[in-house]
């Protein structure tokens, strides 16, 4: 187990290293630089040169890369070109909002997706299962900006029961009223972001459960006198959850990097909107920091997913032995 963990962590670190290196070169392969976006008739060539030097862009690419790696090993992600604050600080300002959105999505996905998936599997081929299947198909194929604007139009504009954007109504309140205000702002982006993930959770749980319900040990459980509820909860669900956990685990990793579209439409101040702003401003350090965060999240979630799957199914031996 410990050898497996060490091996996985080392492989994860290698993945992160390759990812941040690729990010470093890809953002610089873009055919322009931040300074050229700021050029205006009023700026002298000397001022432009000063700006290039201030951003460290006058150095050869490999020198920039070397400096970047040294800083990275020191835990320094550099300074934002546009905001002029340390990238780590910038990311840490935004990360809690993304984690909050992510947490709400996970609660929604697990709280609704698994019971609905089990329900559909138990009623396979019947009316309830068909409705669920249609909803799953819609959920998987829906275009997120479409559902986002639909939600905004209905609940923010037509019924006026939800706010249009932001994380809370300024100025920032205190106590319970603040918590409730944030919760209210959280609803629409959570629903918009959860739709696809929820559909996936339902689909994988349903299909997993259908497979498991045909296993011999389930028949054995019934023959021992267990009722349907006991069989599903104590014998079937754990095994049926393996594909669901795998898929959700990977999705969570990606979502930490930011739900760019959702956060942009709902003006949610998370990492996704930070990436959107950073792309527009060609803010290399912020982009590098955000993609590092994404790489770490994916690697960590992969590891956690493997551990959870191994816990769910003891037949799976970590390390393949």
């Amino acid at each position: 187990m410990s050898r497996y963990l060490i091996r996985r962590i080392l492989r994860g670190l290698l993945t992160i290293f390759i990812s941040v290196s690729l990010t470093f070169f890809i953002v610089r392969a873009m055919p322009s630089d931040p300074v050229s976006l700021m050029v205006s008739p009023q700026m002298t060539p000397e001022a432009q040169q000063a700006m290039i030097e201030a951003y460290g862009l006058d150095q050869p690419l490999l020198v920039q890369y070397g400096k970047f790696l040294v800083q990275l090993f020191q835990g320094n992600l550099g300074t934002s070109f546009s905001k002029h604050i340390p990238v780590t600080e910038y990311l840490l300002q935004r990360l809690p909002w993304t984690l909050m959105l992510l947490g709400a999505v996970i609660v929604l996905v697990l709280g609704i997706g698994i019971p609905v998936g089990v329900f559909a599997a138990r009623h396979r081929g019947k009316w309830g299962d068909r409705v669920v299947s249609v909803m799953v198909t819609l959920g998987i194929s829906v275009f997120i900006p479409f559902i986002s604007f639909l939600l905004l139009y209905l609940f923010a504009f037509r019924f006026k029961v939800m706010p249009t954007g932001g994380a809370y109504t300024p100025p920032k309140g205190e106590g319970l009223s603040y918590v409730l205000d944030v919760a209210k702002h959280l609803v629409l982006p959570t629903v918009a972001l959860a739709v696809t993930n929820l559909a996936n959770a339902v689909m994988y749980t349903r299909n997993g459960m259908i497979d498991v319900l045909h296993e011999d040990y389930i028949r054995t459980a019934y023959s021992k006198g267990n009722n349907e509820k006991q069989v599903i909860l104590h014998h079937a669900l754990k095994n049926a959850m393996i594909p669901t956990v795998t898929v959700i685990g990977l999705q969570i990793g990606v979502m930490v990097g930011g739900a760019v579209v959702t956060e942009t439409v709902f003006s949610w101040p998370g990492v996704g909107r930070l990436i959107y702003d950073a792309v527009n401003a060609l803010d290399y350090p912020v982009l590098q920091g955000a993609f590092l965060l994404l790489a770490v999240a994916v690697v960590v979630m992969n590891l956690i997913t493997d551990l959870v799957v191994a816990w769910l199914d003891p037949r799976i031996k970590l390390g393949g032995k």
Binding site: M30, P31, S32, S36, L37, M38, V39, S40, P41, Q42, M43, T44, P45, E46, A47, A50, M51, A54, T79, S82, K83, H84, I85, Q93, R94, R130, V134, F146, F149, L150, L152, Y153, L154, A156, F157, K160, P163, T164, G165, G166, A167, Y168, P170, P171, K172, T264, V265, F266, S267, P269, R273, L274, Y276, D277, N280, A281, L282
Partner: protein, 548 residues
């Protein structure tokens, strides 16, 4: 089958609702295009009080406006640290918070501040003004060197008066830097060694100061009680202005409609205007932008070195179609070489070649061009086809329609325009930096002080002369204008330059994009907008907004 029908109906309803939400309303309605305050704004006598909530379409980056020039930060900070110079509705600049005089040859400028106070009650002094210019140049901040790099010395005469001695004549010294760069507070910045990474306190000498700046969410401004340059000494009417960020325009318009915000800081699209125009509580004001569309002919292309070819292409520009069809009426046709926004400079009405594709073709044919292979494209005497690539940014409003109109017009004259849409970065690399293009199409952001700024665009070897145009006669006129103190004489010289420009057509102008701003007048009145990028929130106008 029954399920499918129900599902189809639900989908149709959902799509319809969503289209409406996305601004694609089919409701017809004309957009108000007036700079006057509408009747819906009329209300009881204005008084102090109220919080105006404003929507921004992007995250304002920083209150350190001296090093950061994003539009939304500028909109906010123009209320906190306004520029001493502003612009009126005819495109003329005037001293808003200071007055200036110069000596005869414009090498010495005396600037006198009006009564201005920081929000803690301490006065803004001539020391602050002098400090700002020297500090910015010393620390190589943004545009400081362009505007103040030629300042030889400054003399603080008294608390409100400062004299700038220049190394060379500059007729637009006051109108230039003081229109773009606000005053820095000496007591705050004199100890700052790294202004690039400095977080500004938010102190203001304008009608407001920064109370709270929460990145990515909102900015709260409070009324500066010591600001007296408005409303007969009362200062601004509004107690607070709250800026909220909506990164999607459709979401911002919905926020306006459901009352979350009272006004949009940024101009809105034609679709959004249509959506709002039918409701009279929304005041829509349209102003011309300070930039314009321009086709630039690269002198690295042999055919484009031929003035006849440049003239011919310029005769293929159907400006009426560009405005009416290409821009859905959201632009003003530009027939003069200089934007019609600057009324004094286009009074001579020197015009670009008129739209006439037949005449364009005749011009080329009479100068040796012919379609020898019958493909509809003319060839020069050496067999080179009159075929050019037009590079342009995809981010330009309605650019596909505009390009198609240009391409069609040129085709009628036997000139092939191959369209090359590029993202902003690639465009910069290819056109402004790389200068490896045939023809480029761009929308200038702001070209002000045209009598001196044009040199940057057309002067030999100048930064923005990326078409590499080289005409000494025109160059000499531009250089002479920079040191001619008499404005009437400068206008005369500019007329000469415009005539030379029309004769040579180094580039061609298309239209001035319009900018339409919107405000909800249910709770607030006093909205008006002038030229510039701040819409209703330009400081000199925003101080007139009050709660009903």
């Amino acid at each position: 089958m029954k399920y499918k029908r129900v599902l189809s109906a639900l989908l149709a309803v959902a799509m319809g609702v969503s289209m409406a939400a996305c601004g694609g309303s089919s409701e017809s309605g004309s957009t108000s295009a007036s700079s006057a305050v509408s009747t819906s704004q009329e209300a009881s006598a204005p008084g102090v009080g109220g919080t105006l909530t404003v929507g921004l379409n992007a995250n304002p980056v920083s209150s350190n406006i001296w090093v950061q020039n994003d539009l939304n930060s500028s909109v906010i900070m123009n209320l906190v640290c306004p520029n001493l110079v502003t612009m009126d509705e005819t495109g003329n600049k005037y001293g808003y918070l200071a007055e200036a005089t110069s000596n005869e040859d414009c090498t010495q400028w005396t600037i006198t501040l009006k009564d201005l106070y920081w929000n803690d009650g301490t006065p803004v002094t001539a020391e602050d003004v002098a400090f700002s210019t020297t500090y910015g140049v010393e620390h190589q901040i943004g545009f400081f060197d362009s505007y103040y790099g030629h300042v030889a010395s400054t003399e603080v005469v008294d608390d409100k008066t400062v004299i700038f001695n220049l190394e060379s004549a500059d007729v637009n010294f006051f109108n230039g830097g003081f229109y773009w760069i606000p005053i820095m507070r000496k007591s705050e910045f004199e100890s700052v060694t790294d202004p690039l990474n400095y977080i500004y306190s938010g102190a203001g000498y304008g009608p407001y100061y920064v109370d709270e700046w929460v990145d990515g969410q909102y900015v709260s401004l409070k009324r500066n009680p010591y600001f007296t340059q408005a409303n007969d000494g009362q200062g601004a009417y509004l107690d607070n202005i709250l800026f909220r960020v909506y990164t999607d325009e459709n979401a911002m318009v919905l926020a306006l409609e459901n009352g979350e915000i009272d006004v949009c800081a940024n101009y809105i699209s034609a679709n959004s205007q249509t959506q709002l125009a039918a409701n009279e509580k929304y005041l829509l004001t349209t102003v011309d932008g300070l930039g314009y569309g321009q086709l630039s002919y690269s002198q690295t292309n042999a055919l484009l070195q031929d003035v006849n070819m440049r003239q011919a292409i310029s005769m293929c520009i159907d400006r009426e179609a560009l405005v009416a069809v290409g821009m859905n009426g959201e632009a003003t046709a530009m027939y003069t070489p200089i934007s019609p926004v600057y009324q004094d400079f286009v009074a001579s009405n020197i015009q670009q070649p008129a739209f006439d594709t037949a005449a364009a073709k005749s011009l080329l044919e009479s100068n040796g061009y012919a379609d020898t292979d019958g493909d509809g494209i003319l060839e020069s005497a050496d067999g080179t086809k009159a075929s050019f690539t037009v590079s342009y940014k995809t981010s330009i409003q309605n650019v596909d329609n505009v390009m198609e109109i240009l391409r069609t017009g040129a085709a009628q004259a036997g000139i092939e325009l191959k369209l090359e849409p590029l993202d902003a970065s690639t465009y910069s690399a290819k056109v402004t930096n790389g200068q490896t293009f045939d023809i480029s199409y761009s929308i200038w952001g702001t070209i002000d002080d045209v009598d001196t700024t044009l040199y940057t665009c057309y002067g030999i070897g100048q930064t923005l002369n990326f078409m590499q145009y080289n005409n000494e006669e025109m160059d000499n006129l531009l250089i002479a204008m920079k040191s001619e103190p008499d404005r009437a004489k400068r206008i005369e010289m500019l007329d000469q330059w415009q005539q030379l420009w029309v004769d040579n057509m180094p580039s061609a102008m298309t239209y001035v994009p319009k900018q339409t701003y919107v405000a909800n007048t249910e709770k607030f009145a006093g909205f008006s907008a002038v030229l510039g990028n701040c819409g209703y929130l330009n400081c000199a106008q925003a101080i007139g907004i009050y709660a009903k």
